[in-house]
């Protein structure tokens, strides 16, 4: 009996000390993730994965959900998805299970109204998933013209990840986009392009703008990079096509 009491005291004391000196990291974000995925196919999966201590894997799969959602047609005849034709891979219909809820208080809601909730779900599961934040913010701001939502998302990510300068640069480029200052926009995006976590979509947007404002060499440089290194087949073939149009074989 004495041993049993000693064991319980040792366990409680250790747990108490751990709770005192190692508080849970970013717990306040999780309700956001669960609230977003409630009622959808991913909700139960998120809960199970978090319960098994696999929060990062849950955010990875949530990101795949977002990619599948954003990579499919919402409406027939939707070809470009936005001003700079950032995503050339839009085919098919939205899969079952993705959210169809309208974001409260949002600005003009064009297509892909669940893009922000899906991105916030990822951010809730892993506030340091930088690729996901950059991808979603880029899609919202440059493809869907929902700059307010993109700014909100980036500011939310910056609350946790304050030192990550690409968020600040993306915010600047969104500001330049709002005033149609394209030379400044690409100048602010330029350092982002060099980063390994920079989504191909942002690179493609930069190349398109370089082309639009007459900076052919810069556009060629980025298209070559996309052709050789983009992980997505669509971006590679799109880059090849653009390079042909620009006169490079």
């Amino acid at each position: 009996m004495r041993l049993l009491i000693s064991v319980i005291v040792a366990i409680v004391a250790t747990n108490y000390l751990v709770a005192l000196y190692f508080p849970e990291r970013y717990p306040e974000k999780l309700p956001q993730a669960f609230a977003t995925s409630r009622g959808s196919a991913g909700g139960t999966r998120d809960l199970i994965l978090v319960g098994l201590g696999l929060r990062r894997l849950a955010s990875d799969i949530a990101m795949i959900d977002l990619l599948v959602y954003y990579g499919t047609h919402e409406h027939a005849g939707h070809e470009t998805g936005g001003r700079f034709a950032g995503d050339p891979s839009l085919t098919g219909r939205a899969p079952p299970g993705v959210l169809r809820r309208r974001a409260a208080g949002s600005e003009i809601l064009g297509s892909y109204i669940d893009l922000l909730p899906l991105a916030r779900r990822i951010l809730g599961l892993d506030p340091y998933f930088r690729y996901a934040t950059l991808y979603a913010a880029g899609a919202l701001a440059f493809n869907e013209d929902r700059t307010r939502q993109a700014v909100d998302l980036l500011n939310e990510a910056r609350l946790r990840d304050q030192k990550y300068w690409p968020y600040t640069l993306t915010l600047s480029s969104i500001a330049y986009k709002k005033i149609n200052d394209f030379p400044e926009l690409v100048r602010s995006l330029e350092p982002l392009i060099e980063l390994p976590e920079c989504p191909s979509m942002l690179k493609n947007i930069s190349a398109n703008i370089y082309w639009k404002i007459g900076r052919r060499e810069d556009a060629l440089r980025i298209y070559r990079g996309l052709r050789d290194f983009a992980p997505e087949d669509d971006y590679r073939s799109n880059a090849r096509y653009k390079l042909e149009l620009l006169g490079e074989k």
């Binding site: 409680v12 751990v18 849970e24 990291r25 978090v50 098994l52 894997l57 990875d60 976590e197 992980p231």
Partner: protein, 280 residues
Amino acid sequence: MAAIGSSMPKPIMADRLARILAVSKLTLLEEVRHKVLNATFLFAGVLIYFGVVLSRLALGFEERFFRDIGFAFLEFFGLAILLQSVYRIVEQDVHRGSSVEMYFVRPIERWEFLLGRYFGMAALLWMSLGVMGGAWSGLVAMRGFVFETLYLYVFLEIYLKLLIMLSTAFALATIATSQASYFISALLIYASGHVAYLIRSLLEHQERMDMTSLLLLKPLSYILPNFSLFGAVNNLESILAGAVRYDFYDFACVLGYSLVYGGSLALLASWRFSRREILI
């Protein structure tokens, strides 16, 4: 004048250790043949499937996805190995007495026997994780991904977490009345260990505090293992980018916690095992 019985020499520490080591060696030999090989083949197969097929879906973050899947399966297979082995061993020793019979003809105390079993299983886990980790590292290299030093800490954290589960499994196996209750309890403790602190923190952070839930949950969170502490695997990128601090001190705390928590439960399991009736 010496009292009756004092002529029998008291077992010294070295003898005890030698006996515990003998039992652990035998346990390792018993389990290693089929467990390690089976788990490794399964692990490699699943990992290749997910690594090659599913990471194609993770466009732009394949490396992260491949890494996360690898660590998840490493832990999952480790857990599966220990849960089924521990139950089988204790069941075999307590209810059928098949191995116990052989050991008990020699002067070995029950708690020594169980500790020997524990260390044997700990060695088996280490070996399994080593082999699976090696297979995973090979795949990482084949795919041209970077292998960071931090991954070694993650491997060690996974091992320490599984050691706590090993102690829990031994403690449960000595009190569980059926296989189903053993597995369900073990999995519940495993899951609760990941979420109890999280839910408690969530309740504490709410604007309107739910006192009833908090009162129910708080005592429980002091008893359950705190797996939130084993955070390196869930913070890999942020640690590598310097956004979240992780150093040797953090690892030392995880190590200390595992030793105290796991050790306490192992002692409890030994005590329970000593009091159980062996049915031969």
